[in-house]
């Protein structure tokens, strides 16, 4: 019985693709959805220019891509504060300095593949001559958000960053 219900679920998931991660995450607790967008300048009816986010277009070297991760507590219990969201910088991309965002979050970075995380100003890179220098934004390998509040059931939040296609 249980097996057949799972089987049915699988069929449903296949049919309703976008719903799949939500259903799956409901079993586990927090659902995280990642999207990639680019900004296009549009002129509205009032003649004013505004930036509109669209699915990635003109994905050529130099294009700035906005990655947004939406997280939602699908359990019936609050998630303890200080939970951590990690995002490796996408391949063939460079983190755009100062672009990480996230309400109620402490934002840390890594320059060693996610072994150590720290504030931007504390991250050091050793030059070949042995001298240490502050790491450049484009040298970051990971972004980490530490959510400083409890996340009540049903509540969601958004974190993200920009990275340029190399």
């Amino acid at each position: 019985m249980r097996i057949s219900s799972l089987f049915l679920n699988t069929i449903l998931l296949t049919l309703v693709g976008s719903f799949s991660s939500a259903t799956y995450a409901a079993d586990s607790g927090i659902k995280v959805t990642s999207i990639a967008q680019t900004e296009v300048e549009t002129v509205g009816m009032d003649g004013k220019k505004k930036l509109q986010r669209t699915p990635v277009t003109k994905a050529i070297p130099g294009t700035d891509v906005i990655y947004t991760n939406t997280f939602e507590n699908l359990t019936s219990k609050p998630i303890d504060k200080n939970f951590v969201i990690d995002n490796p910088i996408p391949n063939d991309s460079e983190y755009t300095g100062g672009s990480a965002f996230g309400k109620d979050c402490e934002i840390l970075f890594s320059v060693d593949g996610g072994k150590k995380f720290g504030n931007a100003e504390d991250l050091k890179i050793k030059n070949a001559d042995g001298k240490e220098r502050t790491a450049l934004a484009r040298e970051y390998t990971h972004v980490r958000w530490i959510y400083k509040k409890q996340l009540a059931p049903g509540k969601s939040g958004e974190v993200g960053f920009r990275a340029t296609i190399k």
Partner: protein, 401 residues
């Protein structure tokens, strides 16, 4: 003299040595491109990856860098232009680690969001010397040099088209290329196949670039004849237009129409060039150069302007000191390069040490930083590159034996 491209990581500089390490990833932004001319023995390498690179543009060291005799460091960022190859999948995935009550932490990953890198078509045509090519009236096979750079993220072929500028290219031309007085004839275009920066007839025979790697440059020559009717000081402005095409097959490229697709789109990202009709985003770029008829006449006149004999009079007797004047006059148009005036002492005279004066300034006799010297019983004054019209006066003294 061989030319090499060294793909390496710049490690540091100490005294006269530059330390470098080979690198595997040429798109790594820490890579420094070193173009080496001359002996490699005075450099210390640790497993350096050295290979002859025929497609590399060789910059004249003397033109660009007068300080370091062996190395030319091109800005490290230059290699960044390469970019990620089209069709590469860029993916992102986040994860969350959390605790509910006292339970061990859970880890949940997000979906993977990905897209394909599109094809960016971009190129740059540049005139290399910054000044017109000096030619003589009636000269055949006069060469001007351009550089074509692939600024896209994929290898690209390039079709090349030489043309005469129409009228006076008042806009777009760099200052020396704005007046068009005559028309050069029989324009031909050739690729610098052996990347030595010099047009080699019979060797540089290709008329298009079949493949040029992303971020790489190639020299292109326009070879033309100068009509006998062209007068001194007159100029003929020419242009080179390069068009990015499919490598090897040289099939035309076209941008993907309509909205962005899920596949690899083709985008034209070039800026407008100087040639008529060369607009932005047309996979073309162009630049001007010019032929300038330059005949420089150098007239040298030597006279004795003063004589002082031992008796205080002006008799040409043994012991009398003569002041010689050499007047150098350049007329016509153009530049006399590396102009050197030499004057051997007559056997019956003795040079008065320290008496050379060039344009009012006293010079030393030693072969040193000043531009005059006396050696092997000969006065020699180096005037360097002198643009006509110009005049110089050199004086020195000699005693009659």
């Amino acid at each position: 003299m061989a030319h090499y491209l060294l793909l390496c990581r710049y490690v540091g500089t100490s005294k006269n040595l530059i330390y470098i390490m080979p690198s595997l990833k040429i798109w790594d932004h820490q890579i420094t491109k070193l173009i080496i001319s001359g002996s490699l023995s005075s450099l210390k390498f640790k497993d350096a990856l050295l290979r002859p690179l025929p497609q590399l543009v060789f910059y004249s060291l003397t033109r660009l860098l007068g300080v370091c005799p062996l190395l030319l460091l091109i800005a490290p960022q230059a290699v960044l232009a390469l970019g990620t190859t089209s069709g590469t999948t860029v993916s992102n995935q986040a994860s969350v680690t959390y605790v509910i009550g006292v339970a061990p932490p859970f880890v949940q990953t997000s979906n993977t969001v990905s897209f394909l890198v599109d094809k960016k078509v971009n190129l740059l045509v540049a005139e290399t010397s910054g000044s017109p090519t000096p030619v003589n009236t009636g000269q055949t096979g006069a060469v001007t040099t351009f550089q074509v750079t692939n600024l896209g993220n994929d290898p690209q072929g390039f079709n090349l088209a030489p043309a005469l500028a129409v009228g006076n290219p008042a806009t777009g031309g760099i200052a020396p290329f704005t007046t068009n007085d005559f028309s050069a004839m029989g324009l031909q275009v050739f690729v610098d196949s052996n990347a030595n920066g010099v047009y080699d007839p019979g060797v540089d025979t290709a008329t298009s670039i079949s493949t040029l790697a992303s971020g790489s440059s190639r020299n292109v020559f326009i070879v033309a004849d100068i009509p006998v009717t062209a007068l001194n000081g007159q100029q003929s402005v020419i242009s080179l237009t390069a068009t990015a095409v499919t490598p090897t097959t040289m099939a035309a490229l076209s941008p993907t129409p309509g909205p962005d697709t899920a596949g690899v789109d083709v985008l034209f990202a070039d800026t407008s060039g100087v040639a008529v009709g060369d607009i932005a985003s047309d996979a073309k770029h162009s630049a001007y150069d010019a032929y300038l008829v330059s005949s420089v006449n150098v007239a040298v006149t030597k006279t004795i302007v003063n004589v002082l004999d031992p008796n205080g009079t002006a008799q040409l007797v043994p012991g009398a000191v003569m002041t010689y004047q050499i007047a150098v006059a350049l007329t016509g148009a153009g530049t006399a390069t590396n102009l050197v005036i030499t004057d051997p002492m007559p056997a019956e005279t003795t040079y008065v040490p320290g008496s050379i004066i060039v344009a009012g300034l006293t010079k030393t006799d030693a072969a040193d930083a000043d531009n005059a010297q006396f050696s092997a019983n000969t006065i020699s004054v180096s005037l360097g590159n002198v643009a006509a019209p110009a005049n110089f006066v050199i004086t020195f003294r000699a005693t009659i034996n």
